[in-house]
């Protein structure tokens, strides 16, 4: 299972544009994508805008993005870049 731990840099947090961009990329991935807060809470579906909004990640908070399978490292890098973009 591949993971990326990312600090969300966008002023609005992982909402609105960053959330929509993240989910749009995640939906293109063939495997499951999950997003969780580190050390607490269950992972949520990274392909669901509702789930990502519900996670309510604010600027400066950290998330763990997980995926498994062929190509997952590349996808995780891209998703980490989206989630970490200012």
């Amino acid at each position: 299972m591949g993971e990326r731990k990312v600090t969300v840099a966008a002023e609005v947090g992982l909402h609105a544009r960053p959330a929509a961009t993240f989910v749009q990329r995640a939906k293109q991935a063939p495997m499951d994508i999950t997003v969780a807060r580190p050390y607490s809470g269950d992972p949520v579906n990274g392909k669901s805008i509702l789930a990502i909004m519900g996670l309510d990640v604010r600027q400066g908070e950290t998330v763990v993005i997980s995926a498994e399978g062929e190509g997952s490292e590349t996808i995780l890098d891209e998703l980490a870049a989206i989630a970490g973009a200012p």
Binding site: V12, A16, T21, V23, Q24, S48, I49, L50, M53, D56
Partner: protein, 148 residues
């Protein structure tokens, strides 16, 4: 099937008219947008359910079937940090369709240089799942679209 009601009074103009590509390109989901009547008003819950997220400028109601509807009050209004918005309910509250959630004034948003247009979006829905989208004048509580 979920019937989504107009959360504000105004003119249903479609998501393509929203001056933010996240909404106009349908990245958040299908639905429509309302160009609201200028003047103080109360934005209501478009469906019955639980208030999953409540920001002054936006809220998400999730129905018992798990469908979530986003109402965004104006564009780039997160920058206002709540100024000009008054919460009439709390996150986690159960609301009925048509119950007031946020009091605001679209005219004040516009006077501040922002668009007061309100996207109403079926989150995670496929484009074809939204039908019967209203066009033109809508009153609060009118049927805005259906989510199959």
């Amino acid at each position: 099937m979920t019937t989504v009601l107009a959360p504000v009074e105004g003119a249903a103009v479609g998501l393509a008219a929203v001056p933010d590509p996240v909404f106009s390109a349908g990245m958040v989901g299908p639905g429509t947008a309302i160009d609201p009547l200028r003047g103080p008003g109360k934005a209501v819950a478009p469906i019955a359910g639980k208030i999953m997220k409540l920001h002054p400028h936006a809220y998400v109601i999730v129905g018992d079937d798990g469908k979530g509807v986003l109402v965004h009050l104006g564009i780039d209004t997160v920058q206002l940090q709540g100024e000009g918005f008054k919460l009439l309910a709390a996150e986690g509250d159960r609301v009925s369709a048509g119950q007031p959630v946020v009091a605001w004034d679209p005219a004040a948003i516009e006077a501040g240089g922002r668009s007061p247009v309100c996207p109403v979006v079926a989150l995670d829905a496929l484009a074809g799942a939204v039908t019967g989208v209203a066009e033109g004048a809508v009153h609060v509580g009118d049927e805005l679209f259906r989510w199959e």
